[in-house]
Point group: C2
Chain length 451, copies 2
């Protein structure tokens, strides 16, 4: 298998029925199919037709818009990621299946097992987007009054990932024998306890599922805070991140890749894929119209709610056509710190009102918005890719299925023509398609006791 290093990686980030906060109101969005598997199956097959590396699902454990009473204007129903990705594994053959799971409200044994199971089901196409959760609404669904502090969440996340990878190593690759004559189902000397005892977790192991095709499902992360960057440099294989400008993205790219050496990792072992919200038109005018159509569909309360959640500050009491109020110091924000900084800087830089700011971010939600003809979209991706800002992109279609169809039918052929993207899948697993090595089972180095 040869990987052309000049080819970018692409993710299809599914938010059903689209990333724009008003996507469900778009005349062509299939909002009525939001709980229909056949619709999402069609989307996944489109992504596969486009040779995307992965289908990517975000996740959270609470409805949005309760506090501001905009729950009725917000899409608050969706499939749980494991059930959906497992179903999609049967109707696709090559595309990777990346699900988001929080380390704050789950147990390592369950998470290790579910991803191994999805990896077996899909023939080696599973990936785990590791998040730490950041809302009090989620905490209140899990016996807590408010969510853990940022440092505690990252401390727990570090140990969580460590336990999960130990469990994935608890069966050696060749542990299964299935020798009927000799009555040896497995080689018991190749199945190991993990005997983890840490601050957050005590897990004996081994896992009750054999090592999966990829060894470890691909590990994806999103955090861009200091703690997030360090965790990513140590453990992530894909970073899904949010940057508005080339300079910011370049600085982040150099920063994280530079941190990897001290963990014995080469820069190639991590693919940095910023999110991109593409507004595509056959002409520049059509692209502009598509953008305006979506902006006009944003209910005012829903826009304010979206912005409030993103900066962890309730804006419902302030004039919508006035500026942002004074915001708390960054240290006092116990939510997505990088997103807070990004939006505050954007509002300051361009002197935006609350309404202007929510219209600006209602689609991309802090990610980079690119707009224009298919050629212009391809140009903008190529610029970042060739200038040390990205190894690829996580594509966030404004509405579905149209936004994905347009990208696959209009933009991908241009990228392929320029030699910037694959025309066929070359690997058998997600790791191989991403150009990532299969992890060596390191338990012999770190686990002393076998069962």
């Amino acid at each position: 298998m040869t990987i052309n290093k000049k080819e970018m990686k692409l993710g299809a980030f599914f938010m059903i029925p689209g990333h724009h906060v008003a996507a469900w109101r778009h005349p062509e969005a299939e909002a009525h199919n939001i709980m229909t598997f056949d619709f999402i199956k069609r989307l996944a097959q489109t992504a596969e037709r486009g040779k995307f590396d992965v289908v990517f699902l975000a996740d959270g454990y609470a409805v949005r818009g309760k506090k501001q009473n905009t729950i009725g204007q917000t899409v608050n129903t969706s499939f749980e990621p494991f059930t959906l990705l497992s179903a999609l594994s049967t109707v696709t053959e090559n595309v990777g299946l990346v699900g988001t799971v929080s380390t704050t409200y789950n147990e390592p044994f369950h998470v290790a097992r579910k991803f191994a199971s999805l990896d077996h089901l899909s023939g080696g196409r599973a990936g785990w987007n590791v998040v730490t959760s950041g809302s009090n609404a989620e905490a209140r669904n899990f016996n807590l009054e408010q969510h853990l502090l940022h440092e505690k969440r990252y401390e727990r996340a570090e140990e969580f990932v460590d336990v999960v990878t130990k469990l994935w190593d608890s069966w050696e690759d060749d542990a299964l024998l299935i020798d009927k004559e000799a009555a040896e189902f497995a080689n018991s000397s190749k199945i190991h306890n993990v005997n983890h005892k840490g601050k957050w977790f005590s897990v004996e192991g081994p896992l009750n599922i054999s090592r999966s095709p990829q060894g470890y499902p691909v590990i994806v992360q999103a955090g861009s805070s200091e703690a997030g960057k360090e965790l990513a440099a140590r453990t992530a294989e894909v970073i899904f991140t949010a940057w508005q400008t080339l300079e910011e993205a370049q600085a982040f790219y150099a920063d994280v890749k530079g941190r990897m050496k001290k963990y014995g990792r080469s820069p190639d072992e991590l693919k940095i894929m910023p999110g991109v919200f593409p507004v595509i038109g056959r002409t520049e005018e059509e692209a502009e119209e598509n953008k305006l159509l979506l902006e006009q569909l944003i209910p005012e309360e829903a826009g304010i709610t979206l912005l409030s959640n993103m900066i962890s500050v309730d804006l419902s009491g302030y004039p919508v056509d006035g500026p942002l109020p004074d915001l708390p110091e960054l240290e006092k924000v116990n939510g997505g710190k990088s997103r807070f900084t990004l939006l505050k800087d954007l509002a300051d830089r361009e002197n935006l009102t609350i309404r202007q700011l929510y219209q600006r971010i209602a689609g991309a939600r802090g990610h980079r918005e690119i707009k224009g003809t298919p050629e212009q979209i391809a140009d903008q991706l190529q610029e970042w890719f060739e200038n040390g800002a990205a190894d690829g992109f996580n594509i966030m279609p404004p509405y579905l299925p149209g936004g994905l169809d347009d990208f696959v039918d209009l933009v991908i052929p241009i990228l392929q023509e320029r030699g910037l993207f694959r025309t066929e899948y070359t690997g058998n697993t997600l790791r191989e398609n991403l150009g990532l090595k299969r992890p060596v089972n390191i338990l012999n180095n770190r686990l002393k006791e076998t069962i």
Copy 2:
């Protein structure tokens, strides 16, 4: 939809590659396909061809046979139930999909959400087998030294089921509007907090997925202890239970159905389906040979381990051709209490050695074994069904695929000919096929606050 009350319900209990502890050594068992989705897909499609009500998956959170060093002779790898059932939902159309989930090592929010998601995916075919887990090996994978006491587990289970059903009710059936013009995605007055605050759980809600086709996925239980029977009478819709004799099964049937009235439920709202391990031959001699073949394939250590686990007593130090040692009092058993009693009584009654006892239970594992020609198998099912011992049966094929193929191809046609089993699916959902009512959303009675 009309349900013929004279028709039994049937479950296909999948333990891959078969229920017998030596199933994987059977010459025709596809042991090498244990982690191959296409194999299990074929089994599910066979069950559907046979018009089974459900495919049933057991589950546990630890490997077996560690302590007795028989891990290499034991099948310790399998798919996680949600990933597998979701994948199966895409390759079947009518058969129900019942997964086992423990209330001891999970959170109600996740469980309510996953079952709602599976129910949406499958068009209303999901069922939850509620168990409380009973092994220290599982506890040690979840931060505990030993598992909760029996009473504590049931106390937690009662509250857990209560929270889950509240969450399933947190969206009214007609909450979704998806009115693009009016900017109303949902009717917010029909989405409710659950605000549960109990001894074990504090959960605000609502769920982040709309009410599913069945309202509640079908609730299945297995416990036959005093606490288990009471919980079942209050909340179960299907009971999967284990009895050896007609008299025991009749007594249990009358007991549990008799307890339902005080919870305002009619006996029809609960289907009692004992497990049955069918050893089928085209002749009586062939059936006997099939049984002997499996018995001879049991490795001695694996047999002792199986028995030790089932009675929660380590038998590895005792002569295998001698009797059971003195067993502890029932009150001191902190595992499956009903299974302990059943096996102790069986050994006493027939004066069995350890080897004889493990050979006897190595297939059915405490459930009823029936053996013979297809006619004789059908007779034995009919006897219990028509004499107040069962509403149907959970069929436990000795090995796969052959044990299931034989049941579907040889036994089901006889049951159908006698008018004891359906020839076509008549309902659209699992509830309809089982003859169970769709639950009324009772949140207005018990939840005061809307969001």
